[in-house]
Symmetry: C2
Subunit: 267 residues, 2 copies
Amino acid sequence: MIVIKIGGSEGTDFAAICADVAARIAAGEKFVLVHGGSNETNQLSEALGHPPRFVTSVSGQVSRYTDRKTLEMFIMAVAGKVNTLLVEALQRNGVNAIGLTGLDGRLLEAKRKDTIKVVEDGKTKILRDDYTGKIEKVNVALLQSLLMQGYTPVVAPLAISTTHDAVNVDGDRAAAMIAGALAADMLIVFSNVPGLLRDVNDPASLIGEIPRERLEEFAQFAKGRMKKKIMGTGEALAGGVKEIRLADGRVAHPLQNALEGRCTVIH
Amino acid sequence: MIVIKIGGSEGTDFAAICADVAARIAAGEKFVLVHGGSNETNQLSEALGHPPRFVTSVSGQVSRYTDRKTLEMFIMAVAGKVNTLLVEALQRNGVNAIGLTGLDGRLLEAKRKDTIKVVEDGKTKILRDDYTGKIEKVNVALLQSLLMQGYTPVVAPLAISTTHDAVNVDGDRAAAMIAGALAADMLIVFSNVPGLLRDVNDPASLIGEIPRERLEEFAQFAKGRMKKKIMGTGEALAGGVKEIRLADGRVAHPLQNALEGRCTVIH
């Protein structure tokens, strides 16, 4: 069982990953896919005249401020377009995919953080009405039932909150939670970088291997989005995942490339 | 087992229908919901500068011309927003809903009609690259498995074509096909009219009952969208559904109202 996260940033080759996944499924491997959709959401938000607003939390994490209108655009772009077209691409490759959001069957239950403390122009502010959440529970039985029936779940990073609101959740951490809950053999996180780099500007500075006990030490190299990926890595390891690979989603045969070790392997 | 179609036209009270459905599910009844989303699609298309184009087939049927761009907007509005918010509304009412499109697990397989003959300005034209389809197969096993596990499927009117393209399908006929495949006890079709009217301008001219053998005779009263609902009725009856109700989705307690017979009952 392999859980794959496909990043929503520009450059990731969804079609190439789908083709690779299809080949492994035909050979008997089982997969759960989790995707992002930030790029699509940004494009839709701009087109609809409600441009995205990114905020920096007091701990330095950058995230999308999600008011109800942004949540609905996120739903359209991510649960709608990205998820459905990914299912279509997999079906074209002979994979019987099923698209789900975390709301479906309460697949992902999250604690909503309706108030966030952010730093803007050097000042700390409180933002209310935020529809984001932190996943606390995964409906493993639903995933296992679908996998047993031969379906490949494709999960959009939305959850249902404990107070029954739809909330936006971080895709990397959703994938980590799912991989942990399924005790997956491997979690592969595809994005538009080759893996964890010592120097973010030098693709040749790829860190090939990180023993799990040294994860914190290597976390210092993570910049921007990579911080959440490393955080997700820790969660996945704690959840029981044996190995995590941070890999490039832009190369030819991205899955094959990752399985052959041209990525950052944490184990 | 009751299959419900909730129309996508303006006026239909989704929240009221969800609350009614939740009460019946709590009492032990099983449901499958199918929804539309034409109004949401129109709004999104307008906002994105690609306004909807409705065409009239040579047989007089009005439908949305769905090029690839329109298909993607339909997916965002219908599979994204309408489906996910319906799942959220049901979850708020304690119903463990699962949103699906017909692509998911090949729930609805359709024959794509990529070329349509339409009449425009009195002339017959051929339109190509249309992404609409006619459903030929329902994956009943998937629906039954979800129902058995206590989930309530919520289906968006999209299908996977036999050539693996996502296609837009008619929601009324999707509901009819699903009801037939499940041999449902009842199919209830909610829209923004009280049922089949003798005079489309007079709500008091509601036809209360139609014996199935007289359906064709009564079909003459159907105008506009109601034509497809009557066509769906015939398909549902042929598929083995015992009873179809065409009911008002705008009133207080729409489901209760329909079950009490204030609608058009075909049996």
